[in-house]
Symmetry: C2
Subunit: 452 residues, 2 copies
């Protein structure tokens, strides 16, 4: 049992990135000691770490502790129901319990029981939940992006800039292009290519919003009358098409086939996700799994692509590309979960969106899925009628909010978002700590904590 | 005055491609002789030829004669109002009167009056108007394209292939991908890249049709219930987006930035054209010029791109690329003109489209523009009401057809189409005669002559 066989420099560095310190032990007698083993797996899904224990007295407490540090290994434990220690080994990747073969492989390679380490949290400050640092680090770049957006939404057909401008100047957060800019800073990119590409990302997003408004028959968007209400459905569809084409023109001007591949692939996935959402609409039996699949496609795919392309223009390694993809993807899922929670959050200030839109459109979002699953027969009768569109008055909406609150479904939806935000933060572990990484971490926490 | 200073081999070859023969003259005394000067201009807008005369006794007869041979130089004369010979020189490019500076330049370079030639038509057979040869030469390639289309419209979301398949298997002519295949044959391309790209072209077209159906609120498309009627507007919009994204995925797989540029540019122009058409709708004052601008964008841009990309994959010269672009562009204008004529043609068999759709939607197509321009005050009152949507019964439509027939507006619209078809055929002059070129010429004639 020689500890330094295991705790090599690489493993130390890796754990240090997560804000933990290894203290070597020659004994593993005390309850609560962790026998830990970590390594970096290259060529996989970004950065991995895994931990196993011969004996773990309180895995749940450890789980929560680790979770707060932004390592979701123990979520994997929780998900696989291994709260009690059944055997001598608990091994999971950071990513998901399905990766436990990797843990076993790593474990076998190093031999069990030969290494021991106690994990001691360093006093690394928890990043606050805030979007402000992200806004600050991308502010000057976003001026460039906004200029491209304004320039390239022009057309000799006056209706095009009028309609596009209505939405584009309508106070959107421009979170997606901001991800491209923040990612570029994270990887130390000093060029200018990302401005055009970030504008392309925003055009794709804007096109999707315009088509969404037609699809949903929305009245409001970002607190203003939706484009389709002012300009009509036909113009809204066609200007969406125009912006979508412009997005591709911008990408072609940039000239990277890799970027084109990432963004054309994301666009197809978004469209699939939107159609999938449509087919799940008014279907009370929609599962949480199906719901997650939909939001991964309709929302997270573009977040992932927006982040990833920053690594492409900076000619980063495949691992870094994947890490940024994972950051964006998990952030996107977290973001959409919170969006969907806010539609039923009695405490939330409503910004822009019509309160209760999802409810009236019979969209099967997670708060509804959870409240339905936990409801008694009377509640389920209500939900079936409501999702079918037979209970859509303001009183019905108020009743839905009450039922969702009763079952803690908003809070649980946020809890799910927290899980994905933690994974987003984990994904950044392979990048050096600094302003950009901290801003991106804080943005991920903000995505969960926001009340609007 | 030495004739052979001018009629060099290149000029002879060039004129021979147009089916004319040069007979040298040492005298230019007789009325009706043409003092002709032709040359090939490289680096310009494809192939040019121009002719000037010191004295031209009957320029109109010459015009018609040349027109039948598929040379539209004299259309340029007609357009610039130079039927009467004002000066000693008449010079125009084949393309448009705006190119007359080239003629002057060429003229100056060779000196006026030094060369004389009589143009004698060769007995070259007029190609028939038929789409059959085009269908025949592209049949086996279209099997490949159709396979790509079927493969790539698939998705795990069952609604996507269901909706896309409804339109795609709905008996469309697939004229646009056929242009890519015919173009590839014309330039002797032996590879397989054009199959995917032709499928991408058809996907862009299909996406546009789906969105058009939503925009127009169409009931019928290709003789079947339109997708929006069966599947609803939301799904129709979103599946259109999906196909559009798939088109870009196919292009990215091919990997040519040049093709991507051509097709993303065309897509943006199509969307602009569609928006422009929307803003011109129900506006009785829409001019013929504005109408032409709209159909150039909404229809001809994709015809041009579909043709052009065949030259790109075959790595042809810029001139050949431009020539194929011009062929497709002019064919597209001709095609749309005839489509618009057929909507008011009392004799035409109606295929697919709802008879009178354009009328009820208040679309300002050329037959209406011409009939309105030539109508008396009573007729104009009718047209204003009809275009505003206040006269849209079957009787009103019948009255509209009668008024249009009275002013020969359908025939004149076809006459305009004939002009553009002739230009399309001219554009092919720089390619060797053969099966492909003849099929493309016949297709251009068919686009004008068709009754459905």
């Amino acid at each position: 049992m020689v500890a330094d066989h295991f705790v090599d420099d690489e493993a130390q560095e890796f754990l240090a990135e997560f804000g933990v310190q290894l203290a070597l032990l020659s004994q593993m007698a005390e309850a609560g000691n962790l026998f830990a083993f970590t390594r970096r797996i290259g060529g996989g899904q970004g950065c991995f770490g895994f931990i196993f224990a011969h004996r773990l007295s309180n895995p749940k407490a450890f789980s929560q502790n680790m979770h707060q540090r932004g390592i979701d290994i123990v979520d994997a434990l929780a998900e696989s129901g291994e709260h009690g220690v059944k055997g001598r080994l608990i091994g999971h990747s950071l990513q998901a319990s399905s990766d436990s073969t990797l843990a076993k492989k790593g474990c076998a390679a190093h031999g069990q029981g030969e290494m021991a380490a106690q994990i001691v949290p360093l006093p690394r400050k928890q990043p606050e939940a805030s979007i402000e640092p992200m806004l600050a680090i991308t502010a000057s770049g976003m001026n460039q992006v906004n200029q491209v957006i304004l320039d390239r939404m022009q057309s000799e057909i006056p209706l095009i800039p009028a309609l596009a401008g209505h939405l584009i100047s309508g106070g959107g957060k421009r979170l997606r292009p901001m991800l491209t800019l923040a990612g570029a800073q994270l990887v130390g990119y000093n060029g200018t290519r990302h401005y055009k590409l970030a504008a392309a990302v925003e055009f794709i997003h804007t096109a999707t919003l315009l088509h969404d408004d037609v699809v949903d028959g929305s009245d409001l968007r970002r607190g203003k009358a939706a484009a389709n209400i002012i300009f009509g459905n036909p113009a809204t569809v066609l200007v969406g098409d125009f912006l979508f084409s412009r997005a591709f023109e911008l990408m072609v001007e940039d000239g990277s086939l890799k970027v084109l591949k990432i963004l054309s692939g994301a666009s197809a996935i978004i469209a699939e996700g939107e159609v999938d959402q449509l087919t799940a609409q008014r279907k009370i039996e929609t599962s949480e799994e199906r719901y997650l699949q939909i939001i991964r496609a309709k929302t997270a795919a573009l977040f992932a692509a927006a982040s990833r392309i920053s690594a492409v223009v900076a000619e980063c390694s495949e691992d870094e590309e994947r890490a940024l993809d994972e950051y964006g993807r998990n952030l996107g899922v977290a973001f959409q979960l919170v969006d969907d929670a806010l539609d039923y959050d009695a405490d939330a200030a409503q910004m822009g969106k019509d309160r209760g839109d999802d409810f009236r459109e019979g969209k099967m979002t997670l708060p509804v899925i959870l409240a339905y699953a936990r409801g008694d027969e009377e509640e389920r009768i209500f939900w079936r009628a409501a999702i079918m569109g037979h209970r859509s008055s303001d009183e019905d909406l108020a009743h839905a909010v009450t039922l969702i609150a009763k079952h803690g479904a908003v809070e649980e939806t946020r809890e799910r978002a927290r899980h994905f935000a933690a994974r987003a933060i984990n994904a950044l572990a392979c990048f050096p700590d600094g302003k950009a990484r901290q801003a991106m971490e804080q943005a991920a926490r903000f995505a969960v904590a926001r009340g609007y």
